[in-house]
Structure formats: structure tokens, C-alpha cells
Amino acid sequence: MRFVDEFRDPDIAKRIAARIHRTLTRPLTLMEVCGGQTHSIVRFGLQELLPDTIHLLHGPGCPVCVTPVELIDKAMEIARRPEVVFCSFGDMLRVPGTRGDLLSAKSAGADVRVVYSPMDALKTARENPSREIVFFAVGFETTAPANAMAVLQAHTGQVNNFSVLVAHVLVPPAMETILRGGTRVEAFLAAGHACTVTGFADYERMIAQYRVPIVITGFEPTDILQGILLCVRQHENGEARVENPYARAVRPPGNPLAQELCREVFRVVDRNWRGIGAIPQSGFALQPRYARHDAEQRFGGVMDTPRDTSGCLSGLVLQGRLRPVDCPAFGKRCTPQHPLGATMVSPEGACAAYYRYPP
């Protein structure tokens, strides 16, 4: 398959891995920021190809994992209302809130539907004017523009039965939190797809402050190995700069149209991250002019949830301070069938990835 097979070529992957082995002379701890990268690393067993002295930490870039419990609870509360059709991407349905997940709400009678795009939810709203259609707007900068477009179209088309429950979070504030939190991350594989939207000006600023190599990295095996090789080279040379080997998708300014759309529809707010806590200016909420499409305006705001007492340590995992296999609940009390926390739910969650593809 074009644009995939080239980047999974075993010979190229092995050649890059050999270069990594030849170049690295001292230990390196690096973090792949995005859950999609974690998924690829474990799915293709890339760690087997790397020197033991490379320590990979799995970052917070999995939207399913970091959406806070109180938003899941709010989603369930809205979904249970008889007038509501609750639309969501598939993998949010199994994320546990305080009392069950959206799939269990569905089996108890809630009208919960999997959609592949926010536009599908908007179409459902147009086709069902007597129902309230609520879309769970989850994800990083990558999914935000499409969700913004749905809100904008609902607004201009006066589709007044369409609203969004916004849970958007932003990558750079999370990376800064990790750097400030004392985790010894010596280099980042930045999330390539988020950068297609944002570009990488934020990372230039971050490097000036924290002096850490940041390499914009894709999701196929050779992308990830190439990203690691560039981190290794910078590490060995004592450099700290942004490099962009994922140039087939990412341009330095990103996608200005998508950015403008996000600015039009969203404003930057403080957000709670599951397992990590509040991070200032780390997420999106709707601009006041789109309030009538805000599910929180329509169905009441999100309440704070009591402290998580499940014993889930996913916050430490998401900050690279604990390896999934070192968690006492891993594979015992916590499995994909009975997840304690969200990192065990999504295939991109570090814990689920380790469970399905043990190193």
C-alpha cells in the first residue's frame, strides 16, 4: 500500500536501527508524546530494535486517557436524557467514569452512537430536528479544527439542536508540565499530526527555555526510528533544537486556516487532565458567541468529581514517571476487560498497549 509500505520497510528500519546503535554512546531517556506513536512502538515491537540504553517514556498524548472523569460523568448524564442522541468517537465509549462507561449507559437505554466525524453528528441533528444531538468533542489540536467546523456550520445553518461537550486539550502545555515536573526527559518525539495543525513555533520557545531536543515525528516504524535517531544525534552532540523529519505532513507554520477556525470557535482555558490534574491554559472551550451550541450551557456545567479512589496510577504513567508494567494493578486488578483507568482502555493508552503487546 503506497505511503504505508515504504515507511514499514524492514530493511530501511533495520538500517536506521543500526545507525542508532552506532551513534549512541550514553543512556538517553526520551518521550514519545502521542498515543498513536506509543501504539506503533508496541505494535511493531520497535523497542526490540533499540539499544537497552534508550529508555522510552510514553507521554500524555492520548485523548481518551487524559479526558477527566468529571467530563465522562457529564457525558453519561447528558446521554441518559431521553431527548438526547449522544454521538462520540468509538474509543471514548469504554472509558470508565465514576459510575460505568458510555457503553453501559447505552445498554441501559441511552441513545449513544459511534460516529466517524463530527459532520456525521451534525447530519444526524439535521435529520432529527425533534432530538437534541450532542457530540463529544474530544482530542488534541488534531481533531479540534473539524469539531470547530461542525460548530461553525451548525451556527451558520441554525441547526439549533446540535451542541458539543468540549473536552479539547493542547499538547505544548502538557509537555511543559512534564518538563517542570522533574521527569528526566532528555528529548521529545513531538506528535506529528498535532503539528500538521499547529506548526512548531511553540516548540522553538520551549527549547529556548528548557534546552531539550524536539523532533517532529510521524507514526510509521521508520518515522519513529528516524525521530529517535535524530534525538540520539542531538543528544550526542549536546544540541537542542527542533527538527522536522515528518516534512511530508508538517510545515513550520502548520495549517493557518485550521488555526484561524479554532481561534474563531474556541478560546483557551484551564483544563483538568485525568491522572495529572489542572494545567493552566491547556484546553479549549467554546467562544461565548457559540454558547447555544455548548452542551454545558444547555445541560448544566461539569461538576468536580471526588478524588479517584480506584488506585489507578495512570497519572504517573502519563507523565513518564511509572512504566505500566511496574504498576501493582497492571494485568491483575486492571485489564482491558476491567480497566481501572483510561490508559488501559484505548489501544493508544500506554497500559493497554503494554497489555496487548507485552515487551
Partner: protein
């Protein structure tokens, strides 16, 4: 009576737990439901084999008996419809017992308001599929329920097949030293149905692999090959089927990823949706397990058949220490990973 009274009570304590779609998804949740609720309720040696059908002795010959229900949405999809599925699904379950499919029953559950013209199309498909598979539909039942109480049309079929080969076939018969082959590429049915349901379009269009597979199975048996296990790769796909076999036989199954055929359209769709083609449903694909030295002959036998011409060897069974039965996959990069059964249905990923 005493026999019945001595049976354990149903060990299921979660009185307020509800059935979820995942309980029918062919993954671990369905296994749990079978193991914890359904099998204990009817405990007997036939069910215990967890085969695709029951093999029942009667004098010098034996028969296979099986049943299956069909609830597909939409009713019509590229390459088939609920009628072809209802015939081929049961025919294939019989074939997996090494039985020649002979007689089928059909139960139709119709929703009030269902168009008669649509029912006629489905019945035409069933007649054609039965003719192609060489089976007769000999008994049936029809029920109509209130509007909104079922999704248009549900079909149950049961089937009887006759076993004339002395080979004992079952998921618990796989031994270290056996090898596995499949009769064609994976994932077409699941992706074709999903694309019809969700309005996803692929170029070229993808059609279901729905087909009867008794002919290639019969050819293997007629050739005198020592077939240890046959399994059709329906819900849960290759991954679920092989995990069931590994755990029933106590072996490790090792697969080579680059030998497993998946067509471009299915690969592309799975990449887009974040699905694993090895866990996607098929309706005309099966895995056959035989001693390694018989694989070349088995492949040449299968290659002579329409529904076996793309058969390939995909891996082998190895010994596993107790409790270590599992399925592993070696990637083209030379790395190895575990193929664990999914919890329920695969859910498309966010990004």
C-alpha cells in the same frame, strides 16, 4: 432426575449486570458469558468441546448439528445479504466439523411493517445459496413482532450434516508440530458490511467473502489428510479463532505477519479506522490445522478449488508450558508481539 439435580448452580453473581453489545462481539466478553453463564446452565460433553457444532454418534455413522442466528445491519451489503449469510454461516459451521451439510431449518423473525418485496429478495438469496451449498431447507418457522421490536428481519438457521470420514476434528486436537493454513485473504466481510452501514466508500468497492466452504474442506478430507482442526474466521476474526484453538489445545500458535494475506482495500480501510484486520470478521474463510509435513499437499488440494485457490500457510503450533497457551505474531521487522483476544467489538480510534 438426579443427574440434573447434581449440576452446579449458575455461578453468576452480578445480578444487576446488563448485556452489552460486546457480549456478542466474538471476543473475551463473549467467552466470559459462555463460560460463566451459558455453558454451566447446560453442562454436557458436547458443549464442552466448544466446537462450531455438536458431533453426535448414531450407530456406525455420526452427524453434526449446529445453529446460528443472523442480525446483520444493513440487510443487503456488497457481496451478499442476510439470506446468503444465514445459509453459508450454518453450512460452514457444519463443514468445520468435517460434516457434509445436508439439511437446514430456518426461523424468520419479522418486524411488523417489513416490506414483503424485501422478504422475497432475501428468500431468493437463501434459495440460491442453499442450491450452491448443496443443502435443502426442510423445515422452518415464522414469527412477527410489533414494530420497533426487531430490526426488520432476524434469521436463525440450524443444520444437520453427515460425517463419513474417520478423522476427528476439533479445537482441542492441535499438537506441537502442526502448521496452519487459511483459504484466502482476511477482513473483506467485516469491512464490506461496515462500509455499507456507515456509508464509507472504497475504490475499488469491496465485497464480502461470504461463501460456502464445504467443497475445499471435503477435498482435504478426501485426500486422506490428517486434519486436526478446522475453524471458520467469523466474529472476532483470525485472532479470536486462534486464541480459542490455542487455549483448547494448550499450545502456542506462532504466526508470520508477512504471510497473512490482506487485500489493499481492507488494509487501507483498517489503517483509516484504526482497526486490526486480523480481528475483522470473515464469512468464507477458515483455518485448517494439519501436521507440518502434509501442508504442501493440503495447499495443492485447496488451490484446485474456487474458495481455496489463494490458500497459504500462515504459521505453526508449538508446545507451551501450562497456562502459557497463546498466539504470537512475528512482524516483518523481526519483532514479536502477542495477539490477544479483544474484549468485545473493535471500536474505531479517534486519530
Amino acid at each position: 432426575m438426579n443427574d440434573f439435580l447434581s449440576i452446579c448452580p449458575i455461578p453468576f453473581s452480578d445480578a444487576d449486570e446488563c448485556i452489552q453489545l460486546a457480549h456478542g462481539g466474538g471476543g473475551r466478553k463473549m467467552q466470559d458469558l459462555l463460560r460463566n453463564l451459558i455453558l454451566p446452565a447446560f453442562e454436557n460433553p458436547f458443549l464442552r468441546t466448544q466446537h462450531d457444532g455438536a458431533v453426535l454418534g448414531a450407530g456406525n455413522s455420526s452427524i453434526a448439528f449446529t445453529t446460528d442466528s443472523f442480525v446483520v445491519r444493513p440487510l443487503f451489503f456488497p457481496g451478499g445479504d442476510i439470506g446468503t449469510l444465514a445459509i453459508n454461516g450454518t453450512v460452514n459451521d457444519l463443514a468445520m466439523c468435517g460434516a457434509r451439510p445436508r439439511w437446514l431449518s430456518a426461523g424468520l423473525i419479522l418486524e411488523e411493517g417489513f416490506p414483503v418485496g424485501t422478504l422475497r429478495r432475501v428468500l431468493d438469496s437463501m434459495r440460491e445459496a442453499a442450491h450452491r451449498a448443496g443443502v435443502q431447507l426442510v423445515t422452518g418457522d415464522t414469527k412477527v413482532v410489533d414494530r420497533g421490536k426487531c430490526d426488520g428481519l432476524f434469521i436463525n438457521t440450524a443444520g444437520i450434516g453427515t460425517i463419513t470420514h474417520p478423522v476427528s476434528i476439533g479445537p482441542g486436537r492441535v499438537e506441537p508440530g502442526d502448521a496452519l493454513l487459511i483459504n484466502g485473504d482476511l477482513g473483506r466481510h467485516g469491512i464490506a458490511v461496515m462500509s455499507a452501514r456507515e456509508g464509507l466508500e472504497f475504490e475499488p468497492p469491496l465485497t464480502s467473502d461470504c461463501a460456502p466452504v464445504w467443497e475445499p474442506v471435503q477435498a482435504l478430507l478426501d485426500a486422506g489428510l490428517e486434519v486436526h482442526c478446522l475453524r471458520d474466521l467469523t466474529r472476532g476474526g483470525l485472532v479470536s479463532a486462534l486464541n480459542e484453538i490455542a487455549s483448547a489445545s494448550g499450545v502456542e500458535i506462532r504466526l508470520e505477519e508477512n504471510t497473512i494475506p490482506v487485500c489493499q482495500a481492507v488494509r487501507g480501510a483498517c489503517e483509516l479506522l484504526g482497526l486490526d484486520p486480523l480481528s475483522v470478521a470473515n464469512e468464507g474463510r477458515f483455518v485448517a490445522v494439519l501436521p507440518e509435513h502434509q501442508i504442501p499437499e493440503a495447499l495443492s488440494v485447496l488451490h484446485a478449488h474456487r474458495h481455496g485457490k489463494n490458500a497459504v500457510r500462515i504459521g505453526r503450533a508449538c508446545s507451551a508450558s501450562p497456562g502459557q497457551a497463546r498466539v504470537t505474531l512475528r512482524s516483518p521487522l523481526g519483532t514479536t508481539r502477542l495477539l490477544d483476544m479483544l474484549s468485545g467489538e473493535q471500536l474505531p480510534r479517534i486519530c
